[in-house]
């Protein structure tokens, strides 16, 4: 009797618990639904307002007008600009005795020649970009109908050539104060920003392609513009942002870094703050921009081309440094305005992780890429990479690269896994062989480690959880110590959590049976190995003292993470399709 009574009681309690659980779930669901509908309302309102926005229409029409513009108009602009700047430089040299550098005169002459070449063709920029292999890989195509309509409309006006002519004269007059090269770079940057505002994907592709040679401030500007453009397109409903766990962790990390810097006693806006924020902002943007197989392939191709171009430059730089007297190459590149390129070429915190990333990527291309001429090309670039390793002759770097290549081979055929055992010996042999090259020509990847590590450890022990803050910028050493010192264990745990969550999807795709032994899987494996070897190099190099390395880190992680996602779903971003249909 008692047992029955107790059972009934238990039943009642269970029912009550179930009901309360259901209530809680339904309340939570209701809250999420309310939040969703609230944000949907904001996006709808924003989208409706932007339909009637003057500036939004202006930016879009500027973009279309630029694409539909004829190359002859640009030729007129460049011709008037170059002639005016040449005249001004001659007058200034003759009358005032002002010094105009040879490089600027050279720039003006180059512009003049380009203008003459452009006069021979009367294509629109859209067709020029479409026909160019390099430019088409960096830009996102636009609805051709809109461009044709705009082109026809602009044909009927008389201002087609007069506007660029006068603009060229105005820009030419500015060369009294500013060099031709600066004005040219400014105009090109403005065009890039116009492209990024209308197509955030262009920003991502552009940053990846030029990250070793571009100025730090410009890199940050383009990254921020890409991020803002993505947010704007999201609010318009033309792009999608995935607010998953990794995005949430990234936001928490960003918030932590900002709060930690704000609570420190020193200058809040230090280089370190920008570096850390740039990493998270870039990762967030790239992961949300690579949302289709086509976009992933395009990003991958740009990444590969960037690695190959930089490897080629690295080998040429290295050979020139060996053959020519010291600083001649540096001085030549500085005069041309390639300060950032010299920095990238002569800093181990960029070159070492770059090589660690480039070797597995190119090896994966060799294993799974096209055969025949493609194989010869891939072998050639691998040889170039090996040659550039002479420049940073470091045992850990060589070992990491070999292990990454062996891992790719092991995925290809399990028998190759045994190559892992002789790898350290082979790496040691290569290292000893490379050591025959005089030390003066080599860049030491581990030089920074020589700084007083015991003092750094003492400082970490003093403030282990939240770190010493950005003012304790420990330049050099390795990435882990640097993060521990600046942002403590909290900073390190947050970064590790972001990386683990992001990488898990890629790993799941590789080990799953969805696609066995196909190109997509090997590309994913190559990217994952490149990412892991990049991260391994960070154990003895601090990439967080170099903004170019930080952007490279963001690019490789994003490409690696999105590879699995794109191929697994093999979908096309519907919000992007909507935008194309609307036009």
């Amino acid at each position: 009797m008692n047992d029955n009574h107790t059972n009934e009681n238990y039943g009642q309690i269970a029912e009550t618990l179930n009901l309360s659980e259901e209530n809680t779930v339904s309340k939570a669901e209701g809250l999420i639904n309310n939040l969703k509908s609230f944000f949907k309302g904001i996006r709808t309102g924003f989208s409706q307002k932007s339909e009637r926005s003057v500036l939004s229409a202006l930016l879009e029409s500027l973009y279309i007008k630029f694409l539909s513009g004829k190359t002859k108009a640009t030729a007129v602009f460049l011709l008037s600009f170059s002639i005016v700047s040449l005249v001004i430089s001659y007058v200034l040299n003759a009358s005032v005795g002002a010094f105009i550098s040879d490089i600027d005169t050279f720039c003006a002459i180059v512009l003049f020649i380009i203008s003459l070449i452009l006069f021979t063709t009367n294509k629109s920029f859209h067709s020029l970009i479409s026909n160019s292999k390099i430019l088409s890989s960096l830009s996102i195509s636009y609805n051709e109908q809109s461009i044709r309509i705009s082109a026809n409309a602009s044909h009927s006006t008389e201002t087609v050539y007069s506007t660029p002519f006068f603009l060229g004269i105005i820009c030419g007059i500015f060369t009294v104060i500013y060099p031709v090269s600066v004005i040219c770079s400014f105009i090109v940057s403005l065009i890039c920003v116009l492209f990024i505002i209308n197509r955030p994907e262009c920003g991502m592709l552009f940053i990846i392609s030029v990250l070793p040679i571009i100025n730090n401030a410009l890199l940050l500007t383009f990254a921020c513009t890409t991020f803002l453009s993505l947010l704007y397109r999201y609010l318009l409903g033309k792009r999608h942002i995935n607010f998953g766990i990794s995005a949430l962790l990234m936001l928490i990390s960003m918030a932590y870094i900002i709060i930690r810097c704000a609570s420190s006693s020193g200058n809040v806006f230090t280089g370190r703050l920008y570096l850390y924020l740039a990493f998270y902002v870039s990762c967030f943007s790239y992961i949300n921009l690579i949302r289709s197989t086509a976009m992933f392939r395009r990003t991958f191709n740009v990444l590969i081309r960037m690695t190959r171009a930089f490897t080629f430059i690295l080998v040429v730089f290295y050979i020139c440094n060996m053959l020519l007297p010291d600083t001649i190459v540096d001085a030549f590149l500085t005069n041309l305005g390639f300060d950032s390129l010299i920095h990238s070429l002569s800093t181990a915190s960029f070159v070492a992780p770059f090589l660690a990333m480039a070797v597995p990527l190119n090896f994966a291309m060799l294993v799974c890429g096209e055969k025949g001429i493609g194989t010869i090309k891939n072998v050639f670039y691998l040889i170039l990479l090996l040659a550039s390793m002479l420049y940073v002759s470091s045992y850990p770097l060589i070992l990491i690269s070999i292990l990454a290549c062996v891992s790719i081979l092991a995925f290809y055929n399990k028998r190759f896994i045994f190559l892992i055992f002789p790898a350290p010996l082979v790496a040691f042999g290569i290292y000893k062989l490379f050591s025959l090259v005089p030390e003066a020509y080599r860049l030491s990847a581990t030089a920074e480690k020589a700084m007083k590590i015991d003092l750094v450890i003492k400082a970490i022990k003093a403030k282990p959880i939240f770190g010493a803050g950005p003012e304790a910028a420990y330049s050099g050493g390795n990435m882990l110590l640097s993060i521990l010192l600046t942002f403590g264990f909290m900073g390190l745990i947050l970064l590790a959590a972001v990386l683990i969550f992001m990488t898990s999807r890629s790993v799941r795709f590789i080990i799953s049976d969805v696609m066995k032994a196909n190109t997509a899987r090997f590309l994913s494996i190559g990217l994952l190995c490149a990412q892991l070897s990049f991260m391994s190099v960070c154990i003895f190099t601090d990439i967080y003292c170099d903004i170019n390395s930080v952007f490279m880190f963001a690019a490789i992680i994003s490409a690696s993470v999105t590879s699995g996602k794109c191929y697994e779903a093999d979908y096309i971003d519907q919000s992007m399709v909507r935008e194309y249909r609307r036009k």
Binding site: S53, V54, V176, A217, Y232, A472
Partner: protein
């Protein structure tokens, strides 16, 4: 049809603010300190600086055209004309632990160097007559992505 309803709204304000920000950054990136005409009276002041605590790899970053700042401020006051390196034993005071240590150079890879950089000053605040800098003052030398602490050891003017 669509254009007839167009007018300024909060989207315009947001876009205007963002565009202005990007435009301002681009202008500051390209046109700050890139003027080829010297508007200041013609007096060249040359500073000799000592830059300490720099590993070889980083010291190579100190080159002509690197920017000089006042210590702890963001005010630019000059550019490096040339930099030379000499390998010496230097005293290094660690800012974190406030301890000092003598660094020797056991090999070229680990040595800390004494870098001497001669800098040309810009701007009319820096004539010798009312120069805000004095021998012994601390300045910051900014090479791409790195900032070096330096001490003024000599001030010279071509008009003295």
């Amino acid at each position: 049809m669509k254009n007839s309803h167009r007018g300024l709204n909060y989207v315009d304000i947001l876009l205007l603010a963002a565009s202005a920000l990007v435009f301002a950054i681009l202008i500051s990136v390209f046109f700050k300190n890139s003027s080829q005409i010297d508007f200041s009276p013609k007096e060249t002041i040359t500073l000799t600086l000592k830059v300490k605590d720099v590993p070889i790899e980083h010291s190579k970053l100190i080159k002509a055209d690197n920017t000089l700042y006042y210590a702890d401020t963001e005010r630019v006051f000059g550019k490096v004309k040339y930099a030379s390196y000499s390998e010496e034993t230097v005293e290094f005071v660690d800012k974190l632990t406030n301890t000092s240590a003598i660094y020797k150079s056991p090999d070229k890879q680990t040595a800390l160097l004494l870098v001497e950089a001669s800098a040309e000053l810009i701007g009319k605040d820096f004539y010798v007559s009312d120069c805000k800098l004095a021998v012994g003052d601390a300045v910051e030398l900014f090479a791409p992505a790195y900032s070096f602490s330096a001490t003024v050891v000599k001030i010279e003017s071509d008009k003295e």
